[in-house]
Amino acid sequence: MKNRRILLGLVIIVMTYDVSAASDINTFSGWKGENWSLHGRLKQGVSVLYDLPDNDNVLGPSNTTAELKFSYRPNNSWTFITNAWYRADLSPSLGDDFDTGQGLQDPTSAGFNGRLPYRLNEHSCLGTIGDPFCADLDQIRRFDDLDEVLRELSIKYRDPKSRYTIKAGKFQRGWGQSDGLRLLDILHAQDLRERFAFRDSDELRIPAWMVSADLNFERMGIAAPFKALGMRRPTLEFNFVPEVHHSQFIINNPTPSSLTAGGAFGLPFPALKDPVSGYGLVGIGANLQEKTPDDFGFRDAEFSMRLRFDALGGEFTLNGFYGMQDLPLVEFTGANVVAGSALNNESLAAAVVPLDLANAIGAIHAPGGYLGWLRSVASGNPIPFPLSDGGIAPLAALSGGELPNCIDPVFGASTPADLPCSVNANFNLDYDHRQKVIGFSFARDMVELEIGRKLVTPTLRLEVAYELDKPFNRSVAADPFVPGATVSGSNSLVIGPSAAYTDSDVLSTMIGFDYALWVPGWDLQKKSIFTSFQFFNIHTFDADEGLLQQAPYGFETVAKNQQYATFLWNMPVINERLIFEGLFIRDFDNSGTFYRQRIDFQFFGNNFRPRLEWMTFSGEGQNAPIGILDHSDLIEFSLTYQF
């Protein structure tokens, strides 16, 4: 509470800062010389989360960003750029703890479908059923690894005859015409830890060590064949990325042996549910590990190419990408029987008995196994708990007689020595899969369509991406023990990868229009309102086979045609000093809605940039990307000092 008062005080100080002094433009603007410059910014935000379940308003992400950018251009051929940033979040230090309401399945709830508490920003909890799981937020406290700090370190060479350029180092490149959803903008993985995907895209992309070459066919004297095909000003971009990143996100995983927490924008640990019985998978936790491609080298390197040319009155690009997947598949590798802890805490257990993949699949799916037991409980005719005395694989047997059996949750302990038990499934987040995408984009000023108060024409944007053999986790997979039968939902993850994985081609299409809106009747309007509408259709060819959106956090199934619409507007008023910007996103298939309102106050000269930002999410719990953040609504005030 004290911390909140301090923050409130800081905000008031900032808001009442002497405007006349701050608006003096003749302030510090970095260092610069004839051919070099050094500029930077310092940004501090403070936010309030107001839609958390079972919580009052709490301090939300309070991000700090310190950034420096140095550029040096000694002559017309060479450019050196260095850009570094340090990011941190003060909320772990200043904020109160809060409950996500997304712990493991609650054994005391009806059908085990309730969720135990999971308190974040709290490092000590009682470990009881009332306060079972908690985690501090160290993972978002600072992003200060050298790799995270260094945004760009590049050198670029331009041929004096403009035939080609080569850029090497660590940097990022953006492709495509779509904003928000990525179709062709896939050269870089994304850092989703601070605001998931709901921030400016250059802050999302994870820069990589790479080499890019741009060839100007016109200047090289080889444009004639392209021109003969109606392709004017052809240029070819080629990128070689030997360093492979995958997207960074943090799952709010309550499993004590794999505890991770990303705060309000940590991804929710999924509700685990047996679709056959409708009961929650009680007593099950998850240990998550990463399985990644080579960090650096040729074996897993990424290659991409883009041919850019003008045709049909607009600009075309033809794109090809041969890289690695940014997001993981979930690979079941086995399980740990946690003997002595009903709340999956391996550190408090009397023993942890590892089960290999085959035994783990058997313990879950085999007749008399975990799922059979759960369904028997649901039907009102319980069979013995599989690890208890009378179960198919009693703990005593699994441990070679070193341990007693598990307490049967229904029938109770058979001996006083029996232990409470739980099971942690072991998963790899498997990024080691190729991504193969071809596509094109087209953008054109629709000069034929002069409309509106000032006869302005809209700009058409079109982007199409075709991903071949995109890997998915199945939402419906073959039952490992019953030929011809299937398992679905959460159960389809706890099977061997050969059955759990599949792939499908995916065709993604975006059509968008930008339009500078001059409002009828608003004669004194000084600047147009920039508006941008986009419609997306993502067609997954084999969706009817049952595919998971994005395990382990997007647990809903993929629709055959997933459709989104976005609308962006930007309206500066008062001599463009007060700027309103709104972004609306609608996920039609999953009834998800997102809205972000930014208000920039540019009344304070060039050094200070205050901003108010409001983000609200509304959607169903396990739908990515909106539903999973249903409770992450926030209002943020930030102040940037730049020079």
Binding site: D179, R219, R233, V456, T459, N575, I579, Q602, F603, G605
Partner: protein
């Protein structure tokens, strides 16, 4: 042999004597004026316009036009006090009732009655002679010699008799299409053809500032960037010569890369103009927060180039509105004289801003012979109902313009002092005043022109936004 050498030597001496004895009325007036003021800037300017190349070029252009500015000034019956050296302030402006006839009403108001964007002092300097390059001269001469008369079709396009676009054809692209314009459309095209006057232009940097707040105005907007401009055809002075490869349909292009403030650093825009009336500008912007290029509509040129400044795309390089007789009426409404900022920025600044950079402490002005071009919006939908431009009779570039909104209120003005390079006839820009009289905002552009190595510095990179993004 000895005899021949002697003859050559005598001829050389005679020729150099003739050249050094060459002068013109503008030079004489400036020599006299500089001697009186003792101002070293004025002396430097005299040095520059005294150079033989400058004198020769001035003379050649005078022969082509049939006059220079001094001829027209001397032929005019002017008020006796309207002479170089006259200093006018708010206090004595009333003593010169003729002043309103020679100063635009907005300038007069800034001198006498406004409480914002004021001008403290105006000093009249001698009338210069301004001209364009040797390449423009040669092209125009050929046009006349061959009796090539360009035409303007119903779409407003300027065409050669062979149907080619005047500004794309290597033979005509640098020429003045109408040396003696007979109507508004001809004057419009001579003005458009002047363009940036030269072939390649580079401002390093351009500073853009905006002030609001009336009498206590403070600079509340400030940007810095680098700006380039290139004419793509008929090039004779700066490499590449002839046509710039890959720009077959494009007349010219301008681009800008913002370096300050930090939140827009890296914002880059490239705008290129098609000769065809049917094609809107090719307008592409690199947005740093997206790290991506966006194609913007070429038809919305009525928005400010940057937030909070009065420079809109249709006003950059003074006049960028595409000729369109369907939407606009072009009238030559008169001719006369105007007191305007001299184009001496190559040597010195003819203006001094106050410490806040929100008003002018002093400016110099010179008397310029002009045509008055009035462009009237016929649609009722354009940001300006009228654009009244005083087009200089020597170089076909504007000296001043005033625009009005659809309710006939004065909206924006443009007054500039260019960096005219007398030895080559090129001109870049040094200072522009582009203020909004509705919102009472004083805006300036200040530019430092790069003259050397332009053939290397202004290349394809600057007109391809996907290359320009990595400029700095």
């Amino acid at each position: 042999m000895k005899r021949i050498n002697m003859i050559i030597a005598i001829l050389c001496i005679a020729f150099s004597t003739v050249v050094s004895a060459e002068t013109n009325d503008a030079l004489d007036a400036w020599k006299s004026y500089a001697a009186k003021t003792g101002n070293p800037d004025h002396a430097k300017w005299v040095d520059e316009i005294s150079k033989p190349e400058a004198i020769a070029l001035a003379k050649a252009w005078k022969e082509l036009r049939g006059y220079d500015a001094q001829d027209l000034v001397q032929a005019e019956k002017l008020p006796a006090e309207l002479k170089p050296g006259l200093v006018i302030t708010k206090d004595n402006a009333g003593d010169f009732p003729w002043l309103k006839d020679y100063l635009p009403k907005t300038t007069y108001a800034s001198l006498t009655s406004n409480d914002w964007g004021t001008i403290g002092k105006i000093t009249i300097v001698p009338t210069n002679t301004y001209y364009m390059t040797q390449a423009a001269l040669d092209s125009t001469k050929k046009l006349l010699e061959k009796n090539i008369v360009p035409t303007i079709n119903e779409k407003g396009e300027l065409l050669n008799p062979d149907g080619s676009f005047f500004l794309l054809n290597d033979a005509t692209a640098r020429a003045v299409p109408f040396i003696h314009p007979k109507n508004g459309m001809e004057l419009n095209w001579s003005y458009v053809s002047h363009g940036i006057s030269n072939e390649s232009e580079f401002f390093k940097p351009i500073r853009i500032g905006g002030c609001g707040g009336g009498a206590n105005a403070k600079l509340d907007r400030y940007y810095e960037g680098h700006l380039w401009w290139q004419k793509f055809h008929g090039r004779r002075l700066v490499e590449p010569m002839g046509d710039v490869p890959g720009k077959d349909e494009l007349v010219e292009g301008g681009s800008i890369f913002f370096t300050e403030p930090f939140d827009i650093r890296g914002l880059a825009g490239v705008r290129q103009r098609y000769a065809s009336a049917d094609k809107a500008d090719d307008f592409r912007v690199f947005i740093p927060s997206l790290r991506r290029t966006r194609i913007m509509t070429g038809s919305d040129a009525q928005d400010p180039i940057a937030a909070g400044v009065e420079l809109i795309w249709d006003d950059w390089r003074a006049y960028w509105n595409k000729t369109n007789p369907d939407n606009f009426e072009y009238n030559l409404t008169g001719e006369g004289f105007i007191l305007a900022l001299p184009e001496v920025g190559y040597v010195y600044d003819a203006y001094e801003m106050n410490d806040e950079r929100c008003a002018l402490k002093s400016i110099e002005v010179e008397l310029r012979p002009v045509w008055k071009l009035e462009i009237i919006d016929k649609t009722g939908k354009y940001i300006y109902k009228t654009r009244t431009t005083w087009v200089d009779k020597e170089n076909y570039y504007m000296q001043y313009h005033i625009t009005t909104d659809q309710r006939d209120n004065v909206m924006r003005i443009w007054d500039d002092s260019r960096a005219f390079r007398p030895t080559t006839g090129e001109a870049q820009w040094r200072f522009v005043l582009v203020s909004n009289y509705l919102s009472e905002r004083f805006n300036f552009l200040e530019m430092e022109s790069v003259w050397e190595n332009r053939e290397q510095l202004i290349n394809d990179e600057k007109f391809d936004v996907d290359q320009l993004r990595d400029y700095r």
